[in-house]
């Protein structure tokens, strides 16, 4: 069989600017950025996408994505994204947030953007630690996990329990789609990519709030090599944060969040009053 003309089958997506990123070696933040870029490229939406960067290791994401970008205050990306989406409802708006950003300081904004059913997509990178500030305990740090601020291991008696974000949000009526993925292997990466694309598509179809949680790592602050950290993540985080679809309103047979919510409240007179 003669060699065919060589062609590129894998390369940097166009919607990621050709700059070196500041992430530590092997940090999956980079993989997730690429998946978003691939989704934007594939859907041809770079010109109509606005991304909102968090405060966290991904703070400089505004320098990496080729679409318009906004750097939000710590935890407030959902509020910022909400406003951008309200101003430009035809744009695709996503926020990119870490666990500290999304689930600690930004908890109220997260829950409320979700319950409002904002048509935005939240990309949630959960590495069970505060990466940027040097490895403090995160709301998702596991019991007994040693961090800078849980030096003897997270003591649940004083520091309490981790938050499982998908589980927390799934009951809110504004939520259309929630999936927890990881990026430790090529096949998981491809699954994560499909999830992100699906979330963007749901947003385009105005189905409601979408969030993809990526269970990640932080080899630097976990004090491991990148490969070790993937192992640790698989062994400890995945059973604590099980992968899977936590909500998919379309799979449940609804067109969007409003249909589903109405169905749920069909015995409430005031909710059904329009139908009268």
């Amino acid at each position: 069989m003669a060699d065919k003309e060589p062609r590129i089958v894998f390369q940097r997506p166009k919607s990621l600017l050709p700059v070196q990123m500041h992430y530590c070696p092997g940090c999956p933040h980079g993989i997730v950025h690429r998946l978003i870029g691939e989704a934007i490229d594939k859907m041809g939406i770079e010109g109509t996408t606005v991304g909102v960067a968090p405060v966290g290791c991904a703070v400089m994401a505004y320098d990496y994505f080729a679409c318009d970008m906004i750097e939000a205050a710590h935890g407030r990306a959902p509020a910022v994204a909400t406003a951008v989406k309200r101003v430009h409802p035809e744009n695709i708006v996503f926020s990119y947030q870490g666990d500290g950003d999304l689930a600690s300081i930004g908890m109220a904004e997260t829950v409320h953007a979700a319950t409002r059913g904002e048509n935005i997509t939240v990309i949630f990178y959960n590495n069970a630690i505060y990466g940027m500030t040097g490895g403090q305990m995160a709301p998702t740090s596991l019991p007994h996990q040693v961090t800078q601020t849980s030096p003897y291991g997270r003591d649940v008696h004083t520091a309490g329990y981790p938050i499982r974000v998908c589980e927390l949000l799934k009951d809110l009526d504004g939520v259309a789609y929630l999936e927890r993925v990881t990026v430790d292997t090529p096949s998981h990466v491809r699954k994560a990519k499909r999830a992100i694309q699906k979330a963007f598509t749901y947003q385009q179809e105005k189905r409601g709030y979408t969030l993809i949680e990526i269970v990640g790592t932080c080899s630097t602050n976990w004090g491991m090599t990148p490969l070790e950290s993937m192992d640790w993540m698989r062994e400890n985080m995945l059973p604590y944060y099980p992968l899977g679809v936590y909500k998919d309103i379309v799979a449940e047979g609804y067109e969007n969040i409003h249909e589903a919510a109405k169905d749920r409240a069909k015995n409430v007179p005031i909710v059904m009053q329009e139908a009268n």
């Binding site: 500041h22 992430y23 530590c24 070696p25 290791c57 940027m132 630097t220």
Partner: protein, 182 residues
């Protein structure tokens, strides 16, 4: 007339994160303190996030320390190539640059300062002091500047290596001595 470093010494330790530069700086500051000097130690926390360059400013002086940020170092101890490029011009005339020559292939010329090349990473590897290139360089720094008493710098190590890491003391002492003897 060469500067009397036992009166006043301003140093920058520079290299990659993980090379132990902050620790080296701490040895020097602690030694100064044990000699009853005024000392300060300041890490730089620049724009790089991880794996980038890392440096720290140390001052040991008989006078109170003004700005702990050293901008005109008497001595720069450099453990990687970018640091050499970045700091060589900052060294005051008559000053000194100590370079880990295992890691730094290229040293620009400057004839108004002394440049001391120590293959410290290689020496450390050979001597079985993995990761103690920084301490070897600190020993060399001492030998070149005599900024404090010998007792003080020896005691400094004991002081800053915590009890629970006591087994690290000996190799550190050896590395320091090796640096002094180079």
């Amino acid at each position: 007339m060469p500067k009397d470093y036992s009166k006043d010494l301003k140093i920058i330790f520079a290299g990659f994160g993980g090379q132990g530069l902050l620790f080296a700086g701490k040895i020097v500051a602690q030694a100064g303190l044990l000699d009853g000097k005024e000392v300060s130690w300041l890490p730089s926390y620049g724009p790089e996030m991880r794996g980038g360059t890392c440096n720290c400013s140390v001052t040991v002086s008989t006078d109170p320390v003004g700005s702990p940020l050293v901008v005109e170092p008497d001595v720069v101890v450099a453990m990687n190539q970018p640091s050499v490029y970045k700091f060589i011009d900052a060294v005051v005339p008559g000053g000194l640059m100590i370079v880990d020559s295992t890691l730094v292939p290229d040293i620009p010329e400057r004839d108004d300062i002394a440049i001391v090349k120590v293959p410290s990473t290689q020496l450390a590897d050979e001597a079985g002091f993995k990761q103690l290139a920084n301490v070897i360089l600190t020993g060399k720094l001492y030998a070149e500047t005599k900024f404090c008493s010998k007792d003080a710098i020896d005691a400094a190590l004991t002081k800053i290596i915590p009890a629970r890491k006591a087994k690290l003391l000996e190799p550190n002492q050896k590395a320091l001595a090796m640096g002094m003897d180079l």
